[in-house]
């Protein structure tokens, strides 16, 4: 079986800007794969290249072995996309929107209606089935995007920042649902700003920056790449900074507090304590802080992007506001039915 996604030297240029730079990536069938990267890293461009909303400038991209341009029908049939933006048909009640989408994928009318009901129940908005998209709350809109992606029963589910701007309850519901889908065999590609999300859900993650793949690894592997900090409180302040050559990357002293940066805090701590005691220091307290994925992410991307965060509240609000602005901007143009 070919990989769910396979790209080789994928390039996308917008004039002088290279949004994707020779990106080669493989996502195996059945995998839960995360794409992490700061804003502008090229995550959405990558996704849109797979579904046909962006035309690649160079390289190759295949979905389950189907070239996304030469065999676009087969490639697109395999994909269910829940995009970041609310791009839903405003003219019809949401159950009809889902039926139309299923229909475009060749699902006969009766079956499409059944599937629409089924996915609306699954994402928890069945009671809103006769409402139009504009009347749904932000969280319900996000659920609908997921329902639309699921109604065609895709082999590859692509979620572009599905939890941006949603409340904690919904986030947990979505996590539960996509985990379930993955266990049922659906390959999942998730882009997210929330490190915690990738850490919790993904088998492997790719970190992207400026259109390039920085690394691909499991969240655990990534964490081993960082350094740990051992904080030691001494009974009395040292006269000079202790010499800990051979394993300490950095030693800082502040009063009677000593901070030592090492590769692996757990295995190095006994040796550090022995060395300090041998130097005549008396230990009062010790604490090891492990490197977070977030810190590694910042290290790897060389970015202090504030939208990449563990605590979601502030950035989530920002996302909602931004989305609303876009929507309002669009809605400012009247439906223009007068024109038709």
């Amino acid at each position: 079986m070919p990989p769910a996604i396979e790209t080789t030297d994928l390039v996308k240029e917008y004039g002088d800007l290279r949004a994707l730079q020779e990106l080669s990536l493989t996502v195996e069938e059945g995998e839960f794969f995360g794409l992490l990267g700061p804003n502008g890293a090229g995550k959405t461009t990558f996704i849109n290249t797979l579904v046909g909303l962006v035309r690649k400038t160079g390289g190759e991209a295949r979905v389950f072995g189907h070239d996304v341009e030469d065999d676009y029908q087969q490639a697109r049939d395999a994909i269910g996309l829940a995009p970041q933006e609310f791009n839903v048909d405003r003219f019809f009640p949401i159950h009809e929107v889902l039926e139309h989408k299923a229909g475009y994928h060749g699902i006969p009318e009766d079956e499409a209606a059944e599937r629409a009901d089924e996915v609306l129940k699954r994402v928890g908005i069945y009671d809103k089935r006769d409402e139009r998209f504009d009347w749904l709350s932000g969280g319900m809109k996000r659920r609908l995007l997921l329902a639309r992606a699921l109604v065609t029963e895709p082999d590859l589910l692509i979620l572009d920042e599905p939890t941006a701007g949603v409340d904690v309850q919904l986030r947990h519901d979505l996590w539960e649902l996509v985990t379930e889908l993955n266990e049922e065999g659906t390959t999942i590609l998730l882009t997210t700003h929330y490190i915690e999300e990738a850490e919790r859900l993904c088998d492997r993650v790719a970190i992207m920056n400026e259109g390039r793949k920085v690394t691909v690894a499991t969240p655990d592997e990534l964490k081993t790449r960082g350094t740990d900090t051992i904080s030691v409180r001494l009974e009395s302040p040292p006269a000079t900074t202790p010499e800990l050559d051979g394993y300490a990357h950095e030693v800082t002293v502040s009063g009677n507090q000593l901070e030592v940066r090492v590769d692996d805090g757990g295995s190095t701590a006994p040796r550090l304590l022995n060395d300090l005691e041998a130097m005549g220091h008396e230990i009062a307290d010790l604490e090891i802080s492990r490197t977070s994925l977030e810190e590694i992410f910042v290290d790897l991307t060389g970015s202090e992007d504030r939208t990449v965060t563990r605590s979601s509240a502030s950035s989530a609000d920002g996302d909602v506001e931004e989305n609303c602005d876009v929507e309002q901007e669009r809605e400012r143009e009247p439906e223009q039915e007068g024109v038709v």
Partner: protein
């Protein structure tokens, strides 16, 4: 054999305008009541017959063409542009429908709207003057071809437009003048200068109005004013050229979808 996907898109497109009769069917009905009342009854009563027809009857084919092609164009251009504007056209673009299926579904639905509006206008005209159809098959073929042609052009318009103003400009400043100077309200025979006839013959709308007039009334201006060698088969030649043009525009639409013009980054 039509695919399930094609039928789904066609159905979606038709439902969109059928469920909004106040926006789609009532305006042309009311406008044409006014046209027939003012131009036909009030002014027409003071105008002599044209080519042996009462003026009100003579303008029926032109008004049908005006309404049908305007609506076919507007429907296609609006549907594509509104879908682009709100990005829900992505639902179609990310589906496994072929580009040909997408284009044909959009064109067929818009042509259906044009045909329905044409029938509504004929029905309104029937309230004012008795109408009998002289060449039914020819009339139906012409109406299908010209509504499909303008639906195809509407897709180009919807892809090219940058905002809603562009759609208004296309309709009001390009389409409508061409139709009004396309011998809707007058016969080419009434033009006094030879150059006026020659310029009119450069207007593609003349052929459309003339073909529909031939189908409905059995009278063709082109048969009267065109050179003798051409006049013999004028309406059929016009239909042939219009058909070829329609196929060419559809091919252009498919090409634009394929390269993602106005649709993809």
């Amino acid at each position: 054999m039509l695919s399930v996907g094609f039928k789904a898109l066609f159905q979606r497109e038709v439902l969109r305008f059928v469920r909004r009769p106040k926006n789609t069917f009532m305006p042309p009905a009311i406008t044409n009541v006014l046209y027939f009342a003012v131009f036909g009854l009030i002014l027409g009563g003071r105008i002599d017959q044209i080519a042996g027809f009462d003026y009100i009857l003579f303008i029926v084919p032109g008004l049908i063409v005006l309404g049908a092609i305007s609506n076919a164009f507007e429907n296609a251009s609006f549907s594509i542009f509104h879908g682009r504007w709100n990005e829900y056209i992505h639902e179609t673009l990310t589906s496994p429908l072929s580009y040909v299926e997408m284009v044909v579904a959009y064109i067929a639905a818009s042509a259906v709207r044009g045909l329905i509006v044409g029938i509504i206008i004929a029905a309104v005209g029937r309230l004012f003057v008795p109408i009998s159809i002289e060449h039914g098959l020819f009339l139906v073929a012409t109406m299908i071809v010209i509504t499909a042609l303008f639906a195809g052009l509407g897709i180009v318009g919807g892809l090219v437009a940058r905002d809603f103003d562009d759609l208004t400009v296309m309709n009001q400043f390009i389409l409508r003048p061409l139709v009004f100077f396309g011998a809707v309200f007058y016969s080419l025979e009434t033009l006094e200068q030879a150059w006026q006839v020659h310029v009119s013959l450069l207007n593609p709308m003349v052929y459309m109005v003339d073909s529909v007039r031939y189908g409905l009334l059995g009278y063709s201006d082109l048969l009267e004013v065109a050179p003798a060698a051409y006049a013999e088969f004028a309406p059929f030649a016009a239909l042939g050229v219009l058909t070829a043009l329609t196929v060419a525009v559809m091919a252009l639409d498919v090409y634009l979808f394929k390269i993602g013009y106005g649709l993809t980054d």
